[in-house]
Amino acid sequence: MCGCKPGPRPTDPDPVTPDPVPSDCAAEVTMGTPLRLLTRAEYNLTVRDLLGATAKPAKDFPREPLAQGLDNDATLTQVTGSHVSAYLDAAEFLALDTLTNRRAKIVPCTTADLACGDLFVATAGLRAFRRPLTAEERSNLNTLFGAIFATEGFDGAVEVTLQSMLQSPQFLYRDEQALGPVPQPVVTLRGFEIASRLSYFLWATMPDDALLEAAANGALDTPEGLSAEAKRMLADPKSMDGLMRFFSLWLYLDGVETTEKNTQVYPQFSPTLARSWRRSLELYVQDVLTHEGTLAALLTSNVMYSNDSMAMYGPVAPSAEFVRNEMPGDTRRGLLTQPGFLAFKSLPDGSSPVRRGVFVLDKLMCEPPPPPPAGANITPPGPSVTNTTRERFAAHSLSPGCKACHQFIDPVGFTFEHYDGLGQWRDTENGQVIDSTGGVVASRDATVLGAVNGVGELSQKLAASRNVHDCVTKEFYRFALGRPLTQADTCTATRLGDRFMGSGGSFKELMLAIVEADSFRSNANPEMTP
């Protein structure tokens, strides 16, 4: 019935650690990444940089399908009628907004004639399409420009031509194929193609002028040149955008923001509090990335951000403005003890050892328990005024069908029991002293096994685990490539894990390692690969 068997955890053949690593992973690109549609987040940042627009028009676009949490799997994305009409809306808004408020950002000359129009097409086109226009593309746009110029004059022509650029596939999709007229199974990305891939990975936005320049003069076509450029970009504040894109998805911050609570149990709950949870968690991640920048720090930092809506967590903040607190004692230690995380990984009327435990097994250890069998009654035990959550969940999971998996999930989840469904610290529940003992019962990584008391101790073990570093590495790598990983990606993933671990778990080092991997600089032709 259930994939988990009582007794030792059945461990899948380990895709990451066992075999000696070959010295060269070069020939391993076997799956192509198709044209990559800009995600809503990428679109918003791109028009910020292209046009100076801060309105985030993509908020009204259809949401992306999620591939195990990531929004950029190019094999899943698909344009629909809702997309094209939303693109039109956004383009009409952005073109007028830019021309009215930031004309100089896009109009490169003052003569207001067709020659100036052609210059506008070439310069704005280069930035919008992230590469020089082909003769045909330039001619298409000049024809449009000329037609509107004749009836509406210069500004009308600029507005309409910009609308067209913003709805062109060359803008909406990232062309990182380099397939050329004669298809080859695997190609090396050069120049503007690798520039675009680099920019959207590190910055979640279009290349800046320096990167376009580097693409044009061939500086990105050697590993050394690409690496140097990546280092420049990682030092730029915009690299926080790229990192936060990943973490927003990995933690599903959108879900944190729309968490609901039963106000009969938690009268303090309000939508404002849910929004504060998201912001607080976001600020926490940013704080760690800005300071230590490591996975270990993410899992152990004692920082917590709060505002006036979060007084129940201790620190007093005078306003809706968020304040950085370094929390004394052991009550807030790491990501897993952040109020937003805990409240999200809870039930509407109580904590949830299951949701919290599954997050650790799935997102941190990449050893997810199988989902419950289809017919199983998976309703969690209801709230009680006499016993503890731990007692109720333990009893609930006693039946053999449930126990098969819950014997692995619950002991991890029970270590969180000092935090209630809002993520508030508690020493007792219904008059009984909280028992937060537990730990990881089975893992391919023996270092995380063993009894702990409280999620703080568990976090210490996770923070030092090679397996946890490998797990995060794989997700980051999948995010960079925009496609599912296959067995053929194992070699590269292992080497990336080596560098991540070797750097003390530095996320920027991990990003640099991904950029320097052969697979990042290559793409495969979907028609010519298995």
Partner: protein, 438 residues
């Protein structure tokens, strides 16, 4: 004169009171020279129903509504309940029961292989065929500003579990969940003066022509699968261009924008429901569209409904056995849903056609789910309900079949709107149109 006529129609409708954003409504000016338009509305209701309170009792012509359907009592003569219709096509194939069921509901098709993870960990892609609403667009929707509307109320999944409408195999039409954007789609240009509108049309035609040129240009440089991607994009751009440039302005004056709504919050479900359904009936009243689907949550349905005092995950609630009092909360949700349909029927019954008949007589509402009973995830004896006279079925009945195929019901619906098909969706689950409907 136009104004007084509008007022007269409005008075006849009567029920617009209490819908503040419809204040500026100008109902469709009925055209005496045309027959009443036919309409189709598909309603998706997730994870089956509380079966004991769903099915009527009695025989075909002489039946008593179940507790869930009491709000529909005034329209009993316009309802048709089914018994013994199995969604057999959803019993096997890629995906789990909810995925397969929602995929098949309006398509009669199986799912593609894919990577969307279902509730039990199995994986699937999108449905492998068009949905009947899209087939009906060709039969009854031509010439409207919005050929079809896909609306959602907290149906937020961008995958197979969050969609019922398909243009074609693997071409999902995800629902719009934000009433503000539904409003925009319907009334985008209705406030634009005619002279401005003409300029806008010229501009859009030029812009979208150029976009099509750019699509063709890029196509030369990409892989075959990406060429197909760009071809689909090109078709959509062409359709958008036709829609925005060729059609006359709508016959409705613009109602007030509903504004920003926190549509992702469960607490807003009743509010979003009211706005989406109001906009839908307004679109029909104004003949902006004749085909629509509305999804109430999605097939994973991990929502609670605080406005009904249902504070736990409804998907989980559907798993309890029928005798368990906890499962009865599913019936509370079903009853609320029937009330929403009653309001829709009331609205359609208030729209008077040129020949004196009512829009409800020319509309078909098809209410269904992904499974019949959530606690066993079955696809037999599906809880389907049809309402209105649109397909020419004999209504006011509780028709009992024995293991009839739901695909054949889809065939009947399509043919009821003037189609001429013998199969719909997966042909091996088709025996021909259902007996005893027309």
């Amino acid at each position: 004169m136009k104004f007084s006529r509008r007022q007269a129609l409005r008075g006849a409708g009567g029920i617009l009171v209490g819908l503040p954003f419809l204040e500026a409504l100008a109902p469709k000016v009925a055209r005496a020279d045309t027959l009443p338009q036919k309409r189709f509305i598909g309603i998706y209701h997730p994870n089956g129903v509380f079966t004991p309170n769903w099915f009527p009792t009695g025989d075909e012509a002489n039946f008593t509504l179940g507790p869930i359907h009491q709000a529909l009592a005034p329209y009993k003569s316009k309802l048709l309940f089914t018994s013994g219709v199995d969604m057999q096509v959803a019993v096997s194939g890629p995906g789990e029961q909810h995925q397969r069921g929602i995929g098949a509901f309006l398509t009669g098709a199986k799912l593609d292989m894919g990577t969307f993870v279902g509730n039990d960990g199995s994986r699937a892609g999108y449905a492998l065929g068009p949905s009947i609403d899209q087939t009906l667009v060709d039969l009854i929707g031509q010439g409207t500003r919005i050929p079809s509307l896909q609306l959602g109320v907290h149906s937020l999944l961008s995958n197979v579990a969050g969609v019922v409408s398909y243009r074609a195999a693997n071409q999902p039409l995800l629902p719009q969940n934000d009433p503000r954007l539904t409003f925009r789609a319907l009334f985008q240009d209705s406030g634009t003066p005619p002279t401005e509108m003409e300029k806008l049309r010229v501009r859009r035609r030029s812009v979208l022509d150029a976009v099509q040129g750019q699509l063709a240009s890029l196509k030369k440089a990409v892989s075959k699968s990406d060429q197909a991607r760009l071809d689909q994009h090109l078709t959509l751009v062409r359709e958008l261009e036709n829609r925005l440039t060729a059609l006359p302005a709508g016959t409705c004056q613009q109602p007030t924008d509903p504004g920003v709504i926190d549509f992702q919050r469960e607490a807003e479900i009743p509010n979003v429901t009211r706005l989406q359904m109001d906009l839908l009936t307004l679109a029909i009243r104004c003949d902006l569209t004749r085909v629509a689907t509305v999804m109430f949550s999605d097939a994973m349905n991990h929502v609670s409904m605080p406005h009904l005092n249902i504070n736990s995950d409804i998907h989980n609630l559907t798993h309890y056995s029928d005798g368990d009092p906890t499962r009865a909360q599913v019936g509370v949700r079903d009853t609320w849903q029937a009330g929403v349909l009653a309001t829709l029927m009331q609205e359609l019954d208030s729209i008077q056609e040129a020949d004196g008949s009512k829009a409800l007589d020319h509309s078909l509402i098809f209410w269904g789910s992904d499974v019949s009973r959530g606690n066993v995830h079955a696809h037999d004896d599906m809880p389907f309900m049809l309402a209105g006279g649109g397909a020419g079925f004999r209504m006011g009945r509780f028709v009992k079949w024995t293991h009839a195929f739901h695909n054949d019901l889809l065939v009947s619906i399509v043919n009821g709107f003037g189609g001429n098909v013998s199969t719909y969706g997966e042909a091996s689950f088709c025996r021909g149109a259902l007996s005893n409907l027309v």
